[in-house]
């Protein structure tokens, strides 16, 4: 049988494929331990050191290499990602909730929302800045115009996640609550929301990470004050040093920390749901 031959070949291939995906990171990670400040962003490693990590946090004596301008940018990016996460998730939950009932024009509304994630950032960014600059006449800021564009981008993701969750949602528990005379609003808060909470968490994670890393829209739509991706982009044009590699390793670790928080929250909410189900069984 061919698959006896094919399967091992493909297995090796997938190994190489994953190496292709990770190769640059491994090199980046190794080079972040280059000696400093003389060591450049290339091989060979002159001497292993944590110089560039200390450089990142301003713990090294001043040298000709300026520290990365990431401190304030990080705060801005976190704030922006948080604002975007809250708005996009609320809009996403609301829209997905509406899609549980059939209504006229559902197709158009669906495509209108999904368009937000399909249109390239360079176009939404350009359009938003044109609108702000030449029609409305407002200054662009990361917390105003860039925020609007970020929500346009992340709301569709939140919407699709919630749609997938609500598609599998058993509506009879809500009906039970309504028939007991509980108002729809309270039913949503007390019955629906706790049940869809894992989905809401995923939508939030999506919105947050996408916004935190968003670059093209922010480049056009934000003003002078840089967010983190813009600060990184700014270093591209000048000579690069291993401090940007060290920074890359740090942001990756930060993302994993975020992922871990998500995992813990998810675990807790699943456990709570199980506990509640058990109590119901006893009662």
């Amino acid at each position: 049988m061919e698959s006896k031959v094919l399967k091992p070949i493909l297995a090796v291939y997938v190994g190489l494929f994953i190496l292709f995906l990770y190769g640059p990171f491994i090199v980046l990670g190794i080079l972040s331990f280059q000696q400093g400040p003389e060591g450049g962003p290339q091989f060979p490693i002159i001497e292993w050191s944590t110089y560039w990590y200390r450089h990142l946090f301003g713990l090294t004596p001043p040298s000709r290499i300026a520290p990365l301008p990431v401190g304030e940018a990080l705060v801005r990016s976190l704030t922006l990602a948080f604002m975007t996460m809250v708005t996009a998730t609320v809009l996403g939950v609301m829209a997905a909730q509406a899609f549980r009932k059939r209504f006229r024009g559902a197709g158009i509304v669906f495509y209108l929302i999904v368009l937000g994630m399909m249109v390239p950032g360079v176009l939404t960014g350009l359009g938003t800045s044109l609108l702000a600059n030449n029609v409305v006449g407002v200054e662009r800021h990361w917390w105003s115009t860039a925020f609007l564009a970020h929500v346009v981008y992340t709301f569709p993701f939140a919407f699709l996640v919630m749609l997938a969750i609500l598609n599998r949602f058993d509506g009879s528990v809500e009906e039970a609550s309504w028939s007991l005379g509980v108002s729809p609003m309270k039913t949503f808060r007390k019955v629906t929301f706790p049940l869809i909470f894992p989905g809401v968490l995923s939508a939030m994670l999506f919105a947050f990470t996408l916004s935190f890393d968003e670059f093209p829209r922010t480049l056009f739509a934000s003003g002078r004050d840089q967010t983190l991706p813009l600060a990184i982009y700014g270093t591209f044009s000048v000579e690069i040093h291993p401090n940007i590699f060290a920074f890359g390793v740090m942001t990756t670790l930060f993302s994993f920390a975020l992922l871990a928080v998500y995992g813990i929250l998810m675990g807790l909410s699943v456990r709570r749901a199980k506990k509640m189900a058990m109590q119901e069984d006893i009662a």
Binding site: I18, A98, V109, L126, I232
Partner: protein, 288 residues
């Protein structure tokens, strides 16, 4: 359902949808319309005014650099699309179809997705120490005795942009294909095998057609992202490769809003044609 409750339900649907729909119309549709409109505005050295003209359009098609950027964009898009498909499909075939255990296939998919939690720009930048003249690939090839002088064309060339984009976007091809392959009923394959079909025949007659919707979705993802690219080409080509996106960035940088808008409209049309073309191959609504 009574008439009043139907009206009430309509009201609820409207209230739930209104904020999102209004947001998208104001901050997505209006900006795109604005690009079309501004592309006909009059550009003076430092400002634009709203008297309509075709000047920017004429300038675009008269300029070799701009039309060249259009062709470069199309060429790079076709190359990257082909590469992501050729490199991605076998990986998807293994992950989606060959691996019997669900756990292993999930683990493999998660392994593919993990790099996305690193900043996009850092992922682009990571190719520099990899491809440079003193980069990892050259060192490995030199040590292995395959080459004797370092390959310089690896970095700051079109090739580096292609390598970088392929690595960054290939996963968007693998995901949808693996998903479609995972849904194939193994009994169909068994039946074909029992009837004496070889693997080649099974692949072309059963597996590939059933995975086609995944290929189309992946191709749409990759196309939309590659066509709108400018960061990878900027960072890995040393400004040698100019895509439509790069033109938009430089034009906005020098406050040439009208020309930036012309390029934006051309990019939008290009995207529309590409996406509509892919959707013609497969009726996605029916398949998914």
């Amino acid at each position: 359902m009574t008439a009043t409750s139907r009206i009430r339900q309509k009201k609820t649907t409207f209230r739930l949808l209104a904020p999102g729909v209004v947001w998208m119309i104001l901050f997505l549709i209006a900006p795109i319309m604005m690009i079309v409109y501004v592309s006909f505005w009059t550009q003076t050295t430092f400002a634009i005014n709203s008297s309509l003209t075709l000047d920017s359009w004429k300038n675009f098609f008269a300029s070799e650099a701009y039309v060249g950027a259009l062709w470069t964009t199309i060429r790079l898009w076709l190359i990257v699309l082909t590469l992501t498909f050729v490199i991605g499909y076998p990986a998807a075939l293994y992950v989606g179809l060959m691996v019997k255990s669900k756990t292993i296939s999930t683990v493999l998919l998660v392994l593919c997705v993990i790099p996305f939690w690193t900043s996009f720009l850092i992922r682009v930048l990571a190719w520099r120490p990899m491809l440079g003249k003193e980069g990892a690939i050259n060192i490995i090839l030199l040590k292995a005795g395959i080459i004797h002088t370092p390959i310089e064309v690896l970095l700051f060339s079109e090739l580096s942009v292609i390598i970088g984009m392929t690595q960054i976007y290939v996963v968007f091809m693998v995901g949808p294909i693996a998903f479609m392959l995972g849904r194939i009923d193994h009994n169909i394959i068994e039946a074909a095998r029992d009837l004496g079909a070889g693997f080649g025949r099974i692949f072309w007659k059963i597996i590939f057609p059933l995975s086609l919707p995944g290929v189309v979705v992946g191709a749409i993802f990759v196309s939309v992202m590659v066509l709108g690219e400018f960061a990878t080409s900027g960072a890995l080509s040393g400004r040698k490769v100019n895509l439509l996106g790069n033109i938009i960035v430089t034009q906005v940088g020098s406050l040439k809003w009208a020309m930036a808008s012309v390029v934006g409209v051309i990019l939008t049309i290009l995207l529309g044609i590409v996406v509509a073309g892919f959707l013609r191959i497969v009726d996605l609504k029916r398949e998914i």
